[in-house]
């Protein structure tokens, strides 16, 4: 993209995009995990409903994705400020900023949400078509 205007403007755009990415890290991981698990499960069950062998692999896959996502989210939570400095640049090395708090709590909420979908995976048959 070509632009005139002040030289710093591209940084402004990237700075907000980076900030948003940092703030939304948790929910974004949740979204990816949710989409993968739901899509793969739906696809597998549509292709071969009632296949127990697939069921086993499917279960393993979904548990793996969920666990990996939770781990990734927790990793960001633990080294959040360092990551923010890397991603967003920025000063404020000392102390938690509002952005750190927001990002951190969003990760916690996302971890809860992902764990709950893990609970569902653990408690329910994979491709059971019938209701109750």
């Amino acid at each position: 993209m070509v632009h005139s205007g002040s030289p710093g403007q591209k940084q402004h755009v990237t700075s907000i995009v980076r900030l948003i990415a940092y703030l939304l890290a948790g929910p974004l991981i949740w979204a990816v995990q949710f989409s993968i698990v739901y899509a793969v499960h739906t696809l597998a069950c549509a292709i071969s409903p009632g296949e127990t062998a697939i069921g086993g692999w499917l279960l393993l896959f979904m548990v793996g994705v969920t666990a990996a996502s939770v781990a990734a989210a927790l990793a960001i939570l633990l080294c959040g400020r360092r990551i923010r400095r890397a991603v967003c640049g920025g000063s404020n090395a000392a102390g938690w900023t509002a952005y750190d708090i927001i990002s951190g709590f969003l990760i916690i909420l996302s971890v809860v949400a992902m764990s709950w979908s893990g609970v569902a995976i653990g408690l329910l048959e994979t491709c059971d078509q019938t209701q109750m």
Partner: protein
């Protein structure tokens, strides 16, 4: 002003006398019937909220009519057909014509004031959306009076709404009504995203934004991703109704559940789209009434963002009883649980803030409505948890329990905060406040009436009464409960009526006399006039009026930024999105007629299409496009003026292109909307394949055209991209006229359109027909969506050519060129994705 001098104000010296007059002249609202041409947020915002409230009243009357019918079993007050129309119109009006527009209206009205901006960055766009919504909404609502109203429910499930089961135009009117709200919602989203990110006052970093601004930002973000799904769904439904492309017909490989997926992917976030801003309003009122900053500001932001996100993961919880695999239900049940937590955070934040009150939490009518909201919404949220438990939902779904639940959520979560807003912010637009004495009556009538009406419905539903039934037999245990609900509904209505009477008595358009009657801390309570605040302050906290003494006087005296109108027109300061440092002066269009005509002709076009009067509809479409062009012609002022001084030694340019400019941001938002529409389409395509792979090429349909066609189309797109790179280089230096560059731009646009047409041609030649099966319909739909973008690019390119002819496009004055270019690049990307989907996917799986 002694205090101010030592705080190093940007413009410490007294301002010239005539500045205020100049501002007043520039921002003046036209008189008489010319007020229709007004674009200032204070003028059109009032019309917007007034229109939305009118729809609330009308849909409320329909609710009373329904409650009257249901008061006793076997009632003959309404007949079946009319009842079905009424509940459809009630739901549709409340959701689409009242709730979303009311929120947007508050955004238009309050946001600029809270951000101390002179106006939102695209005033005419707001005005256009408002007029289109008013015309379309009124026509839609009036169908109830001549038996043309839709009767498929506000959710319009096919196949009930396909021509076979809903002949006539009734269902089309629903599509018309929602079409307008789609337009105005997208326009609003553009406006609000750019407004909150780019027109904040200097110093108001994201972390200092008022909670309402946060909630509106998230609201707009959600619209960007939720509305495209329903836009696509309505397109598909109307195309199937009109031309018989079988997207939803199971016999031809379509699936009625596709509609439910698309509709609820929009419909569930929609609830939060309505609720979040209302919660944002509450987060503004509670601290004021407590005279204490919001406890847990950051957590509230967390709650807003989390709700906005998780709400996209619950759409299937409207489909728990459709028989999809249990594990899927489990996922969505889990996500539904997750969305409950943020609400808990907000509730406890408000409670904590109340507890933190200096002295004691003040009880005004506004705070009564907030407390009422807290009570009702908490119940609604908790019953929401019950509904989210899958087995429970098997019993509760589509019963009166759900009716009770979502009225608790929506009336509690949105209507009560709205009334609090009326009482709290009325002085923004009226010289008088509403009566606090009458207000108590209004509140208690509404609060008691509401609970009397809807609390029993939980039991009605558990006793087995389904929704959407116009009559019921006696002695099933529902009679008494229904009668109580009806009585409650009338009490609630009495409260609303009392409010309307008080409003009519006390409302006097104009500015308030007491600038800050509640002693609030945010910028909307600065002294203001039609031009908003006299000067734009630099803020250093979340509640500047509490933390920066003398702010109001200094702002009013013009000691802060931009106390005058240096460009001689409407303008405001654009700041950087994160830290809010001044970047440039945006020059905004004033009053005009182009957008009004565009709205009228758009409305006329949709209406005529609804009743299948095609030729006049096309003429209106052309006139609408012409009006848009006339309106857009006046924009893009060009650099023209030298940078201007806004105070504090800051000199800002008055023109900007590229990633800092508001138009670049608006275009980006629009492209995101288009992209999520196309993602929704890709989902639909894959979904239908999953449901009926047997109709997919090459087995169930004519074989795909040879790959060389797809490669050729891709090459055409590449050619267009190459051309546009050259075009960019050929733009003339400022002040010179050279149209070679823009002509190449047009050529590139033509390549894009040609790529779309080639696709159509080869599929037609392969013998595939859109009416044959769902696969054919999807293939042609891909082209339809691509051509739609190509058509927009062509028009924009033509517009750019026209401007280049008169020397209004060059290397600096290039916003028009850039916008076209951006949409072109997006169009190329979308068309390529379409090629992969249509040519690649069937080969990969076949």
């Amino acid at each position: 002003m002694t205090a101010s001098s030592d705080r190093r104000l940007p413009n410490p010296t007294p301002r010239p006398d005539d500045e205020r007059d100049q501002l007043e002249r520039i921002w003046s609202t036209p008189k008489g019937w010319r007020i229709l041409s007004a674009v200032n947020n204070t003028a059109v915002g009032v019309a917007y909220i007034g229109g939305a409230f009118l729809f609330f009243l009308m849909a409320g009357v329909l609710a009373l009519v329904m409650r009257t019918q249901l008061s006793v079993p076997e009632n003959q007050f309404l007949d079946q057909d009319l009842y079905n129309q009424i509940f459809t119109v009630h739901g549709t009006t409340m959701m689409f014509l009242f709730a979303v527009p009311a929120i947007e209206a508050l955004g238009v009205l309050l946001l600029p004031q809270m951000l101390a901006a002179r106006d939102l960055p695209f005033p005419r766009l707001s005005a256009f959306a408002i007029w289109a919504y008013m015309i379309g909404g009124l026509v839609f609502f009036s169908t109830i009076f001549y038996d043309l109203a839709p009767k498929g429910g506000w959710f319009m499930y096919p196949p009930l709404t396909l021509t076979e089961y809903s002949p006539g135009h009734n269902a089309d009117f629903w599509l018309l009504g929602i079409g307008f709200i789609e337009i105005s919602a997208i326009a609003g989203a553009v406006e609000i995203v750019v407004g909150t990110l780019k027109t904040r006052p200097p110093g108001m970093s994201l972390a200092r934004m008022p909670i309402f601004a946060w909630s509106m930002l998230i609201f707009a973000g959600m619209i960007m991703f939720a509305f495209p799904a329903v836009i696509l769904a309505t397109m598909l439904l109307e195309i199937e109704r009109s031309f018989g492309w079988p997207f939803f017909t199971a016999a031809k490989g379509g699936d009625p559940l596709l509609w439910q997926h698309l509709f609820w992917f929009f419909g569930h976030p929609e609830v939060y789209i309505i609720f979040l801003p209302a919660a944002g309003l509450v987060s503004m009122i509670v601290p004021t009434m407590a005279r204490h900053r919001l406890v847990g500001y950051n957590l509230i932001v967390v709650a807003l963002i989390a709700t906005g996100f998780f709400s996209f993961g619950l759409w299937v919880h409207h489909m728990f009883t459709t028989g999809i695999p249990a594990l899927s239900l489990g996922f969505f049940s889990a996500a539904s649980m997750a969305v409950a937590i943020p609400s808990g955070i907000q509730v406890f934040s408000w409670i904590a803030t109340m507890a933190a009150a200096r002295e004691r939490f003040r009880i005004t009518t506004a705070s009564l409505f907030v407390l009422g909201f807290l009570f009702i919404f908490t119940i609604g949220g908790l019953t929401g948890v019950l509904v989210a438990l899958v087995p429970l939902d098997f019993q509760l779904h589509d019963s009166y329990f759900v009716v009770a639940h979502f009225h608790y959520v929506l009336v509690g979560g949105m209507v009560f905060p709205l009334f609090a807003t009326f009482y709290y912010w009325i002085t923004m637009v009226s010289r008088n406040q509403l009566s606090e004495r009458v207000g108590r009556w209004v509140f208690w009538l509404m609060f008691l009436g509401f609970n009397i009406a809807f609390l029993p419905m939980h039991w009605t539903g558990l006793s087995g009464m389904p929704r959407r039934i116009w009559t019921y037999p006696p002695s099933l245990g529902w009679d008494g409960l229904n009668m109580i609900s009806t009585v409650g509904a009338f009490i609630l209505a009495a409260g609303v009526l009392l409010f309307v009477v008080d409003l009519l008595r006390r409302f006097r358009p104009g500015q308030r006399e007491n600038e800050n009657p509640w002693g609030a801390g945010t910028l909307e309570w600065l002294p203001a006039d039609v031009y908003s605040t006299r000067s734009i302050p630099r803020v250093s906290s979340r509640e500047p009026l509490w933390d920066q003494p003398g702010l109001a006087e200094d702002v009013e005296a013009g000691h802060y930024y931009l106390p005058n109108a240096p460009t001689g027109g409407r303008e405001t300061i654009v700041t950087s999105p994160v830290e809010a440092e001044p970047e440039y002066i945006i020059r905004m269009p004033g009053n005009g007629w182009g957008h009004v005509w565009a709205a009228i002709f758009t409305a006329a076009c949709f209406l005529l299409l609804t009743v299948k009067v095609v030729v006049p509809a096309l003429i209106c479409a052309l006139l609408a496009i012409a009006s848009c062009i006339a309106w857009a012609w006046q924009l893009d002022h060009g650099p023209g003026k030298e940078p201007v001084e806004i105070g504090g030694g800051i000199k800002l340019p008055t023109y900007m292109s590229g990633p800092s400019s508001h138009s670049w941001w608006a275009m980006s938002v629009l492209i995101l909307v288009a992209a999520s529409l196309y993602v929704a389409f890709a989902f639909s395509y894959l979904y239908l394949w999953l449901v009926s792979p047997q109709v997919w090429a090459p087995h169930g349909s004519p074989p795909l055209p040879t790959p060389s066609w797809a490669i050729g189309t891709a090459l055409l797109l590449a050619l267009g991209t190459a051309i546009i790179v050259v075009a960019n280089r050929l733009l003339p230096a400022p002040g010179r006229r050279d149209i070679r560059g823009v002509l190449l731009l047009f050529l590139a646009a033509a390549c894009l359109a040609a790529a779309g047409l080639v696709e159509l041609f080869v599929h037609w030649n392969s013998g595939l027909r859109p009416t044959a099966n769902a696969y054919g319909a999807m293939v042609y739909m891909a082209s339809a969506l691509n051509l739609q973008v190509a058509f927009a690019v062509l028009i924009m390119a033509g517009f750019t050519v026209a401007r280049a002819f008169v020397g209004r496009v060059d290397r600096e004055r290039r916003v028009t060129f850039d916008n076209t270019l951006m949409l072109f690049v997006y169009g190329v990307a979308q068309t390529l994705l379409g090629l992969i989907l249509v040519h690649g996917f069937p080969r990969a799986v076949g």
